[in-house]
Every structure is written in structure tokens, then in C-alpha cells.
């Protein structure tokens, strides 16, 4: 296993753990944390491609990715905060207002 493959397998492992956590956890805040884990896995893949191809563009994309992740965390936490304040629900499987 060469080094690039190592980093990509590491990134895939962390992304999978984040994906599983996002699907199976009930708490909305922990779901948002799993999103952050997935963002970080993608950032590791970007950085390793940037290093092993000798191209600096991957690092610039990591900067954009971090900025978008910060926006996503702010808006997601605002939505969760509004939900908890107005309905008292903080679990994802209790949001059933749209069920007929």
C-alpha cells in the first residue's frame, strides 16, 4: 500500500463512520457533528491529492470547503435551535409534522 492509497483509505474510513453516524443517531446536534466529520474526511482526501500530484489547487479548495462548513454549521445550529425553542423536539425521528 503506497502512501496516497493509505490517505485515501483513511479518508474513506472516516467518511463512512460519519455517514453511518449521520444515519443512525437520533440527536440532531450529533448529526451535525457527523457532518463535520465527513467534511474533514473530504479535506484529508483533498490535501493528499494536492501533495501527491504537486498541485497547490487542492489546498485552495480546502479553504473553500472549510468556509462552507462554517456556514453550514451556523445555519444548521440555528435551525436546530429554532426547532428546540418552538416545539421542544431535539430528536430526528420525532419530527412528524408533515406526516398525513
Amino acid at each position: 500500500m503506497n502512501s496516497l492509497e493509505f490517505y485515501l483509505v483513511l479518508s474513506a474510513t472516516i467518511f463512512t463512520i460519519g455517514l453511518i453516524g449521520f444515519i443512525i443517531r437520533r440527536d440532531l446536534i450529533v448529526m451535525l457533528m457527523c457532518l463535520e466529520i465527513m467534511f474533514n474526511a473530504v479535506n484529508i482526501a483533498f490535501a493528499s491529492f494536492s501533495y501527491y500530484n504537486g498541485n497547490l489547487a487542492g489546498q485552495v479548495f480546502i479553504l473553500f470547503s472549510i468556509g462552507v462548513a462554517a456556514c453550514e454549521a451556523a445555519v444548521g445550529l440555528a435551525i436546530v435551535l429554532a426547532l428546540v425553542r418552538n416545539t421542544g423536539i431535539n430528536h430526528s425521528d420525532e419530527i412528524t409534522f408533515l406526516r398525513g
Binding site: 502512501s3 496516497l4 492509497e5 493509505f6 485515501l8 483509505v9 483513511l10 474513506a12 474510513t13 472516516i14 467518511f15 463512512t16 463512520i17 455517514l19 453511518i20 453516524g21 444515519i23 443512525i24 443517531r25 437520533r26 440527536d27 446536534i29 450529533v30 451535525l32 457533528m33 457527523c34 463535520e36 466529520i37 474533514n40 479535506n43 484529508i44 490535501a47 493528499s48 494536492s50 501533495y51 501527491y52 500530484n53 504537486g54 498541485n55 497547490l56 489546498q59 479553504l63 473553500f64 472549510i66 468556509g67 462552507v68 462548513a69 462554517a70 456556514c71 454549521a73 445550529l77 440555528a78 436546530v80 435551535l81 429554532a82 425553542r85 418552538n86 431535539n90 430526528s92 425521528d93
Partner: protein
């Protein structure tokens, strides 16, 4: 010990610790404890950036993620003042299906990147100066768009989290 052996030891350490920390974030019972596992996880990712010649991104990772996003998470947990139920169920009812989806996804991803080849030319000109030159010349327009996105997220977050009047609840 040769440098290659030391590097391999460090990489294996990072693999094990990053996997265990992300599993701990997913599986821990207390939300605030999971936030602190996320903190250690983000610091490990920042250290991993150093292996890949990305010093500037290490600093950005620590400032933005640990100093911004994680503090936001912890503040949100404190503001919400969640009452922990006695029998707090952590996972959804059909959690096994989610695990199965993840395993199938990982197998597909692993088959895709099984025999990756390296191109041979490594990143040697990685410095903050070159990074800034690239960011402010070729990637100037995405940078400006990112600033607009940040502004919209700021205004939108304030508008969503604002307290509703009594009759609208």
C-alpha cells in the same frame, strides 16, 4: 530507526486514533462528551495536514474549526439546556440498515481506490506566499463568492434563530 519507519508508525497511529475518535463521537451517550471527542478529532486532522505540507491549512483548521465551529456547537448545547432522559435512546429504530448502507458504501469506495498510483512529483512549492498568490489571482472569483455566502449565512442564521412571536408558534 529510519525516517520511513517513524513515518509509518505515525501514520498508523493517526489511522487508529482518527477512527476511534470518530467512532466515539458517534457512539458516546453524552452530547457534550461527543463534542469534546470532536475537538480532539479536529486537532488530529490539523496535525495530519502537517504531513501533507499544508501548514497554513493547519492553522486555519485550528482557528476556524476548533475556535469557531466547535465553540458554536458547545454554546448551542448549553443554550438549548437539554434535559437528559433517564432511558436516553441514542440510535434510531432501524439502525442496522444504516450500518449496512455504510458498509456497502465503504466496500464500493475501497474497490474504487484500491490500486491508486502516485504520479511521482510531490508538492515542493507549498508556502503561504504561493498559496496567497494562487488564491488571489486564479481563484479570486470563488473567494469573493465565498464571502457573500458567509454574509448570507450570518444573516440567515440570525433570522432563523430569532424568537418567534407568541401567536406564530
Amino acid at each position: 530507526m529510519s525516517p520511513l519507519l517513524i513515518e509509518n508508525v505515525f501514520l498508523i497511529y493517526f489511522f487508529v486514533s482518527l477512527s476511534l475518535l470518530s467512532l466515539a463521537v458517534v457512539a458516546s451517550k453524552n452530547i457534550i462528551r461527543s463534542a469534546f471527542f470532536l475537538l480532539i478529532f479536529l486537532l488530529h486532522v490539523a496535525a495530519l495536514f502537517l504531513f501533507l505540507n499544508a501548514e497554513f491549512l493547519m492553522v486555519i483548521q485550528i482557528i476556524v474549526y476548533v475556535g469557531g465551529v466547535l465553540v458554536l456547537f458547545i454554546f448551542a448545547i448549553m443554550v438549548m439546556n437539554l434535559k437528559e432522559e433517564l432511558k436516553h435512546r441514542r440510535f434510531i429504530k432501524f439502525g442496522l440498515v444504516g450500518v449496512l448502507t455504510g458498509v456497502v458504501f465503504f466496500i464500493g469506495l475501497y474497490i474504487f481506490l484500491k490500486e491508486t498510483k502516485e504520479s511521482g512529483n510531490f508538492l515542493t512549492n507549498a508556502s503561504v506566499e504561493n498559496f496567497g498568490k494562487l488564491l488571489f489571482s486564479y481563484y479570486l472569483l470563488p473567494f469573493e463568492i465565498l464571502s457573500v455566502v458567509l454574509l448570507i449565512a450570518l444573516v440567515g442564521g440570525l433570522a432563523i434563530a430569532k424568537k418567534l412571536p407568541k401567536e406564530d408558534r
